[in-house]
């Protein structure tokens, strides 16, 4: 489509699913069983547009540079749709702060900044990657849902919601303004609520939807406060640079003008506060500790919704946000370390809980939390490798986790709604395609070479290892890696005057959190990550063995359903299995993704780009990772393979630990006791006050006329003559008054 410009394509990617959603809402009932057509058409067209944009952006970035790192020119394209809000002269920043307009006189009249929120979309490599993932996985999930939601009375509503979600998520990753991101952050949360509570008449589903929305709101609070702080610190909420009326450049927060200047990003207390609040927002959306409690409950929703939202796209919004704001984080090493600590802890805790789950979807939910924790741990290292490895893992995870979820949905569909693994077994004979694709997904998740997960996990382990043992890598690379503190100044990319990455901005100097950035901490995180890799392999293959191997058992609810799914459901499974198997190897061997992403303005900033290391395959880490995975698979096989798949489980050997894991480390109980119960008590107190005190006051006021009337009512005796007497008395009084007037 040579005639369509990239700007139009960028607008079409969110617009077409929105149009599809609106058409589905309007025409849903009319279309009946064909209600999926507008939504699938919209998402398919958006997917085509997104792939075209990806290729166009890739063409702009240029070829890969093999194993040698060079500073890459950032690639971005801004498309401003309209001005949403604008207030002139809203804020006069202090002189010399990052919020001041460069080039204006200090204290002059023109120093006041306007508050303006343009609806602007930005296309750069990170956005192009995310858009492709969202639309392609969304398309496959929508096709799958045609078969899965076939008999559901809410069929049109489901497709409208999926289409609406794709629109919201696409706008979230394309928006170039923090406030627009916040709007669509909330929008994806609302779509998630509607999809989790899709079968709203089921009380558990309604409760799960409410829980998901409320826990997300805590994260949204963090994002809101962070937005306020960003506005006060930088005077604008745009990512990109804008031109003011008289030609001066107003630097955006993540625009090329500010990022090129090393002192443009504020560190210190304010910067760390902003980063921690962004981390809170990401924890809420990406289900990290302690805001992870909503994701396992969210499995009450339809499985395609779980595959799309809670595996591939919405939960990755947190990863996207931190990657987009990477220059802000790199200026605050303490916040970065917090990100990694949160991520690695979540990964380990979630993996431990997943080992004892009997519900196949719950295993996958905790697995998602664990893999997102991996991505956070990688982001927190603050190096170029860390950021690109996190996005690499995001891409591969989207494919194999969506595959696993859709496979679980296929099993659930065939088993008549039963998903408890102890009630069925040996399904590979009944459902060969599902079994084969599920196995591919499981191998990718466990990190077995040469499947996708192996390479991305290897890169994550490598970046954590580089922070934990900084000297060990000097032998691997020509250039010394420059993590937070540049000890060796031999790299040509480091400035000659050895400077910390914290900016000389409003608050210079580090915060107390920076003390966390020590190799001892990073070594602990590395061992946690390795242990998690082993646990991942264990619980994945435990699930596979319990479901697909052993004697064939089918629960009674299956009835006549116990056969392979129709092609409309197995085709997406096969289409997802291909990238799960090959994408990792292909992206890694060509280093295409890392090179492509390094052209993102956020990652091309000198503060981030100078931490880049040449692309290498770390054989020792690969061995460690594969060993951990192999041990996990072997233990799972001992416990659950074949004949033993329906025998009492080996997890009983864990003893009291098993109760701890099965109760999810008592997080829900702690929240219930600390937060829910006190709030319920306060609510009941408020209800009592409302009912008795306030309503009592109102009722008391209402008693006044009743009392007064009771006095007057006695005059109503029913005797006409008494009424006449009252009238005569009145006349008498008037006459007397008149006479008094005339006399006096």
């Amino acid at each position: 489509m040579q005639s369509i410009s990239p700007t139009s394509l960028l607008v079409l990617v969110p617009l077409l699913p929105l149009v599809g959603a609106i058409l589905t809402i309007i025409l849903g009932r009319v279309l009946g069983s064909r209600a999926h057509l507008p939504a699938i058409a919209g998402i398919a067209a958006a997917a085509a547009a997104a792939v075209t944009l990806l290729l166009a952006t890739a063409g702009q970035v240029g070829g890969t540079s093999g194993g040698h790192t060079e500073p890459v020119r950032p690639v971005e394209m801004i498309s401003t749709l309209w001005q949403w809000a604008s207030v002139d002269a809203a804020y006069t920043p202090p002189a010399g702060s990052p919020a001041a307009i460069p080039g204006t006189a200090v204290g002059g009249q023109g120093d006041a900044r306007a508050f303006s929120i343009p609806v602007a979309l930005r296309l750069d490599p990170l956005t192009a990657t995310m858009l492709t993932i969202i639309t392609c996985v969304g398309l496959l999930v929508a096709i799958y849902s045609v078969g899965y939601m076939h008999d559901d009375p809410g069929y049109p509503r489901f497709f409208a919601l999926v289409s609406l979600f794709v629109f919201s998520m696409a706008m979230l990753v394309a928006a170039s303004n923090f406030l627009i991101v916040y709007v669509f952050w909330e929008a994806v949360g609302a779509c998630s609520y509607l999809l989790i509570g899709f079968w709203f008449r089921k009380p558990e589903a309604a409760r799960a939807a409410k829980k998901a929305f409320l826990v997300n709101r805590i994260g949204d609070f963090g994002l809101a406060i962070a937005t306020f702080l960003l506005w006060m610190t930088y005077g604008t909420l745009d990512f990109h640079d804008t031109l003011s009326a008289d030609g001066t450049i107003l630097p955006g927060i993540l625009g090329q003008t500010r990022l090129a200047d090393v002192s443009g990003i504020v560190g210190g207390t304010v910067g760390t506060a902003i980063c921690l609040l962004l981390l809170l927002a990401a924890c809420g959306k990406s289900a990290q500790l302690p805001l992870h409690v909503w994701l396992p409950d969210a499995m009450e929703g339809p499985t395609p919704a779980s595959a799309l939202i809670h595996a591939a796209t919405m939960v990755t919004a947190g990863i996207y946000l931190i990657t987009r704001a990477s220059p802000l984080f790199v200026a605050c090493p303490g916040a970065l370390t917090m990100v990694s600590i949160v991520g690695a802890t979540t990964a380990l805790v979630a993996a431990l809980i997943a080992t004892v789950q009997n519900d196949l979807k719950r295993v996958l939910a905790y697995s998602t939390i664990s893999q997102l924790g991996y991505m956070f741990a990688s982001l927190g290292t603050g190096t170029m490798l860390g950021f690109t490895a996190a996005i690499f893992h995001l891409v591969t995870h989207a494919f194999f986790k969506a595959l696993l979820f859709l496979g679980a949905g296929s099993v659930m569909h065939a088993m008549g709604g039963v998903i408890d693994m102890r009630r069925f077994g040996g399904l590979r004979r009944i459902m060969p395609i599902t079994a084969a694709t599920f196995l591919i997904g499981g191998l990718a998740l466990a990190g077995v070479a040469p499947f996708a997960g192996f390479f991305s996990k290897d890169e994550i382990l490598a970046t954590i290892h580089a922070k934990a043992w900084p000297n060990a890598h000097e032998t691997h690379h020509e250039v010394a890696p420059a993590g937070g503190h540049a000890a060796a100044s031999q790299s040509p990319f480091l400035p000659v005057s050895h400077r910390r990455t914290t900016a000389i901005g409003a608050d210079s100097g580090g915060t107390t959190l920076d003390a966390l950035d020590r190799p001892a901490i990073w070594q602990t995180l590395y061992w946690m990550a390795l242990l998690t890799a082993g646990l991942t392999a264990f619980y994945t293959f435990r699930a596979i063995f319990m479901t697909f191997t052993g004697p064939t058992r089918v629960p009674d609810e299956a009835g006549h359903h116990a056969h392979e799914s129709p092609p409309v459901m197995t085709l997406p499974l096969i289409l997802l299995a291909v990238p799960s198997a090959l994408a990792g190897w292909w992206l890694f061997s060509t280093n295409w993704l890392a090179h492509f992403l390094s052209a993102t303005p956020s990652l091309a900033a000198p503060a981030v780009a100078r931490t880049a290391v040449p692309h290498a395959f770390h054989v020792d880490l690969a061995i460690q990772g594969t060993l951990a995975a192999a041990i996990g698979i072997v233990i799972a096989a001992i416990g659950h393979l074949g004949r033993r798949s329906d025998s009492p489980q080996m997890e009983r050997l864990l003893g009291p630990l098993q109760t701890l894991f099965a109760n999810k480390f008592y997080f829900d109980q702690i929240y219930s006791g600390l937060i829910v119960k006190p709030l319920e008590a306060v609510a009941m107190l408020a209800a009592l006050i409302d009912r008795h005190l306030i309503d009592g006051l109102v009722n008391a006021v209402a008693l006044i006329p009743v009392g007064l009337g009771g006095i007057v009512r006695r005059m109503q005796s029913g005797l006409v003559q008494r009424y006449a007497l009252a009238g005569v008395m009145g006349v008498l009084m008037i006459v007397l008054a008149l006479a008094w007037q005339l006399r006096g």
């Binding site: 109503q716 005796s717 029913g718 005797l719 003559q721 006449a724 005569v728």
Partner: protein, 160 residues
Amino acid sequence: MMVSSCPISPLLAAGSMPLLHNALIVGAILFALGLVGILTRRNLIVMFLSAELMLQGISVSLVAWSRYHGDWGGQVLVIFVLTVAACEAAVALVFVLQAFARTGRLDAAAWQSLRDESLARTVDRELPASDATPASWPRLSPAGVLPTGGGEDDQQRQHI
């Protein structure tokens, strides 16, 4: 309302004050009697009679003023009053007839059911002390049918 300045009889002095006073007193007495009658009597026809009496009292006053000021207007108004009184009599007697047809008696106190529900019925069960019955009744030879006693009918005097 000065109808004309045609003088009345020259024999009687127009504007004679004592005549006015006496006539007004008569009119006031008539009016007062009528007022007291309306408020006190329970018979509907007597109540209406009292209302007519009030009207006549007013008419006398009007004639007195007319004579005093030498203005025909007062007496013309009296003609109006008499006419209206006649029409009003027709309407009022229809009303009395309907009331009698509904309750079978001419007692204004028969229409007490429109009172407040917390109030008791106003009854005149208490006979005045002068009508108190002696402790012993004279013994008469039995004659005729014993009167039926009790019930709500006995709470009101049948005929006034």
